[in-house]
Symmetry: D2
Subunit: 429 residues, 4 copies
């Protein structure tokens, strides 16, 4: 079974699935349980409440579907849209490509806005499309918050600004500053009524619980993530969160769906039994613990930690004299860094060698950029020294494959940053 | 978390999810892993080979989908059929009802053959429908092998016989007895060419790995099960196995599908990387161990053990003076027994009390038979003494709720059977 | 590894090691940790406080020694006594025999008071020895609270009464009833000053956490247990609790000791680092959880549960027409029942067959009573239905080996008792 | 419980207890078991055979005692010596000091040979003592193979040479070269007959399974280790291995012992039940897996890996401009490095800060060298990148406490060494 056993820990730095913390492994180490007993619904109730916090939503309705990110995508689309609906979707890397492929196979009319891989979504094009769409033919905007293949983070706050029509925005701001003044928060919510009616669907698979994400504030209608990413669980729960507007849309959406149908969940939510079919007991307890750990650390501290890990990685890449696949600082990702290798090196060799010699798991370059980049995932339950071990490993591998790296250079750059910026562990002060 | 803690083991006798054996729990107690490293594909390859054995197929192609039984149903249907297709489906209990509901929502033209709950599928009706269908309008026959709600096992071998048209059957038999004689096995496979072309889709969720099931011999085109049933794993893998004919059908099936699409799997099977999206590493290792345990015990011994557990349970029910929901011996199920309670007792109270007083988890009566039956699941990694503990518990609960049971009577009947029929554990002889 | 694998759970009914509850298994599923970090001492502090509760002592000092019950015995003896010291020790079965063997090898002058196996300690002999010992040559009374080999529980309260000299007792009672009246509790403690000065050493290995045990009230000077017994942990912690008088004795005790020396512990207790050598991190976390479970259930409820389990087992034995090895009701044990078999049956065959055919682990007869008794351990984290499964198994095995048992008879007797006496699980009401 | 939770893995670099590999954690994740069933003895038998391999002995007899290293010490001494026996013992650091303290408390006449902490055992003194001891008053030589407090490895081969009297040695060599020629191995064993009769007792707690150790070849009479060191298990098994000469000595040794008495084990070895008292089932399965992993990697490869880890650590220390506590290259340890800090720094602060800020567990300086050194344990199931992460962490901590380290310098030195010397993982080639 473990015929590929190597001594010591595996250094897992693919951008998912990520390292599972010990308390979560412990929580999942259990027999099955009757999910119709009072215990499982009682726990599910707390999970549904708490899972909203990772989306930063109070009005959203979450669904914890026994599926993967791909299934979560399908659930988001089929519950809110009908075949033939026009949607705007951004192609910036392998995962946005796969989502677009799904959108097309689900028979939507996909208006693809493509960027070079390494760039973020072209929001200028979105702006003009929205401005032109006075007939409201655009039914949804689909965007990947963080493109895992290229390490590019899109600016969701900006998408939202585009969706709020300009003149309305101006009028409102004046009106608000006069009348509500201190109730701006409540009014901001009302703004949604004046937005372009397109639904705003966000793939947050490699962002939520790691990057700043604000479902309510940004007017996101459907956001989704997978348990094996920043939540640091095994694969098996696709978490989809729907705004009231998205729930409303689901009533008339004509896409055929059964397994992924939110209505089946809503029916059982009302009954208080919560599950239309058998959930994984183990993953529910694991999720309970994963959320507890997130809240103990503090979601903002978790995001700050990812910011440190991302920054340190980029400093190391720079110190090695290599380029980040991400073409501009505005899009850099704090959860994954795709590193461009010189043309004379095959990045696939780097990934193979890292695993074979140093028990280090790095991410491959995918599709267009296969052989050209390798990826360092730095998301989930991960700390500074784990990353430094990985960076030291990357340095040795780079040397192994003939790149003239100065050993220790990346680690030095990263640790200088950490040494200045890492706070004490709060529970140990 | 364990606020419903009770001392000692929980006695888990719902018909799924079932008890997980310790070796499987151990195997799953692990960190995530890069599923693109050489290790996971190598293991997946062995799983795909071995999983075919539980379906008793050599020609089938299995798919291990990160989903539940409901998702497995959807995968079976959408990959082989097109909206509007006429299918014959048997309604005999809550789970067949749910599958029919799914079939209808997926826009098939469902020809429902209903039986009273407690009876098996009405195969006479099937016979006449098939006989009449010279135009071959019936595209598929959908049948639940074992209806978990009522404890009814359908006769799949008979379904198959019906699908092989009679006259062809007669001619062939004569022909065969003359010519092939010693190659009857090969020819039996050829028979499929003379069958009614309808696909034969089987829900084996509560049967496969526990009841006699022979995909190839019975000409089943799609069979499916869920990991949390007789495989004794957590929920999370829907295993679907497709015959060559089903695979062929999938090429022209027009039902919209992405997550459940077999083609995405087949593409990755060819590449040797196997996974179109992230599998649960833990469940793969768990499945590896679950299969190892099944093969160590011997699949036929596993089936014989379930036969003993089923028989003993029925003897206990009889000894208590209660009736089995299953109306005839021909349909009794060796994986779940639904017990009818007298009208003056609410079976829901039995289930509640069992859990509250004896840490015993029984299955509720569902839908039409809610309050009228309680269910004892006796499938998966379970042995005689576990069942006897459960039966002793049921006796006490029956007394608790006012049924005049003779304590010990069911246990006596069941243990008399066990004492005569249980072999020594092979590894301990 | 699991070459003796049998399907389903092992039914573990030896009187130790016993079943470990899942929450404890989870708690122990962890990597090693630096035991000199602030975390381990902080946890150890809570353990030392809480472990006193299972001894029902406030004045005692506990030691959690990385050893077995045999080591705990040695620690109790060598810390309080000097070679040549006269001690009175009761021989009533295999474990008291082993303790006496240890006492002799440790060079004490052991005054053995023997009873027939199946009887309790002969306290009349103790009474006369104490009465005669005006010179106080007896330095310690050593008694096994519950003899695991025969299922005999000794009356410790009575031992204590004997140690308090009669005339003093009479005077005191009069005096007390007049003067202190409402402070009898405080005065009872003072009584110790008037007792015979012999130390009162108790082996509570198969009693503490299961049977009524009151260290302070009964004037016990050293009590001890092992983690793998009623605490329901793995083997590995010998817990020894010393009264102030025992601690005082340890200052002058001349038995050679290092590993088992309490003084090394006391030195580290003062430093607040607690451990003179490396403890098992896993067992500490396991113990933390085991205590939490005990307190959640309530120690008195735990004792009541053992009382039910013991009573039910004895009723079953009676129903089978067999005799309890324990010769009188006054000594029956609620943690283990030794069952006498008819002369024409070898009890060893029963134990072997139970394991080979039903995956049931029973205790062997030991030494003198080998072949004559088999033992049912019913201690630790165990509930009613588990025991009933075991009893059903014993019935079948009895039949297997030719004893004309009426199947179901024992289960019927036991479950009648349970059905009348088992409360609802408090957390589920 | 986890109130000192910090995100990510704990970086455990104390010189024991060390990191437990996942396969071992899995193996130990199990319920208790009857240790008198056929399964446990069968496994124990394989363990006793295999555990001899880690001592490199074929003639030794191993004992797996449920205790710690301190208990293993006691077992080694009390089974082979009598009170008053003269023994030569080397004091070179805290652990040899503690062993000597034990020897004195056990009433031996200890001839202490002290060296400065940071130096190895003074073998010249031994040589003269042995030479002078024509009356054979020295009954044992006690030496710590690797002093964990100072990171000093003693030269055991040299001790052995000293014990073989010179003239005998010369005669024998001549004799052998003539007569046996090709049977030197057998004759080397015979040499033992001509040695000084003193027993050669070795504490291999932080060496065995990590450093080159050859019980038979070096004529060691008792060697011992603890499960939580290089075996990478939890604390709980003290493994003691006795040569035939040591076993012989145990027959006449007069030290009082019961729990630690080898004879009790030998009695049960003969019976084939192996255990005089209850072992930890979990640790037995853990040990089984730990040995399997060691043999899969290859014991010599394990030792070579430790050599790389030790060398790399020392190169890092040098690059930081710090001194190794070990004063000469001949004594450097490949399992632990004690690093001297400048007088203006308190090494305790380094250890505290490492834990509080970076979740890094380092070893404290002990006793005489408290505050002056911190220790990096690099033993057990550990790989290169784990160590590099640790070294990067140490660099940051050094900077935190005001030492002017060049960040990345140590990592660079260590990784240059690794990059030149680390082989591919054999199972992944």
């Amino acid at each position: 079974m473990d015929y590929v056993y190597g001594p010591g820990r595996n250094h897992l730095f693919v951008p998912g699935p990520v390292n599972i913390p010990e308390p979560v492994l412990r929580a999942m180490n259990r027999n099955n349980e009757d999910y119709r007993s009072p215990a499982v619904p009682a726990m599910t109730k707390t999970l549904l409440e708490d899972v909203k916090k990772i989306f930063k939503t109070t009005s959203g309705t979450p669904f914890m579907i026994p599926t993967t990110g791909t299934g979560a995508w399908e659930s988001a689309l089929t519950n809110t849209l009908s075949p033939g609906d026009r949607i705007v979707s951004f192609l910036i890397g392998q995962f946005s490509l796969l989502w677009i492929d799904q959108q097309q196979r689900l028979k939507f009319n996909v208006d693809v806005v493509e960027s070079e891989w390494g760039q973020g979504a072209n929001l200028d094009v979105l702006e003009s499309k929205i401005a032109e769409d006075t007939a409201h033919t655009i039914k949804a905007i689909c965007i990947v918050h963080n493109e895992t293949a290229t390490g590019v983070t899109n600016n969701l706050a900006k998408v939202r600004k585009i969706l709020v029509l300009k003149w309305l925005s101006i009028c409102l701001r004046m009106w608000l500053s006069i009348i509500y003044l201190r109730q701006s928060h409540r009014v901001l919510a009302d703004i949604n009524n004046y937005m372009h009616p397109a639904l705003f669907l966000v793939d947050g698979v490699s962002s939520i619980c790691a990057l700043d994400f604000r479902m309510d504030e940004w007017g996101v209608d459907v956001a989704l993530t997978g348990s094996q990413k920043a939540l640091s669980l095994p694969t098996g729960i696709g978490i989809v969160c729907a705004s009231p507007k998205a729930l409303e849309a689901s009533k008339s959406a004509k896409s055929v769906r059964v397994f992924f149908d939110w209505n089946d969940y809503l029916k059982f939510y009302k009954l208080g039994t919560y599950w239309p079919y058998t959930p994984s007991i183990q993953l529910l307890y694991g999720l309970r613990t994963a959320l507890d750990l997130l809240f103990e650390e503090g979601l903002d501290n978790v995001i700050a930690r990812h910011s440190r890990l991302g920054k340190a990685t980029r400093l190391a890449v720079e110190a090695w004299g290599l380029k980040n696949c991400t073409q501009s600082e505005e899009w850099v990702s704090d959860t994954v860094t795709a590193v461009l290798v010189p043309p004379y090196i095959d990045s696939t060799e780097i990934v193979k060698r890292a695993w074979k010699r140093y028990n280090l798991s790095l991410g491959l370059g995918l599709n267009k950029i296969a052989g050209k980049v390798f990826r360092i995932g730095h998301l989930g339950n991960l700390n500074e020294l784990q990353l430094l071990g990985c960076l030291a490993g990357v340095e040795m591998v780079l040397k192994d494959v003939g790149y003239p790296v100065k050993l220790g250079s990346g680690v030095a750059a990263a640790s200088a940053y950490f040494q200045n910026n890492t706070p004490l562990i709060p529970s140990r002060i």
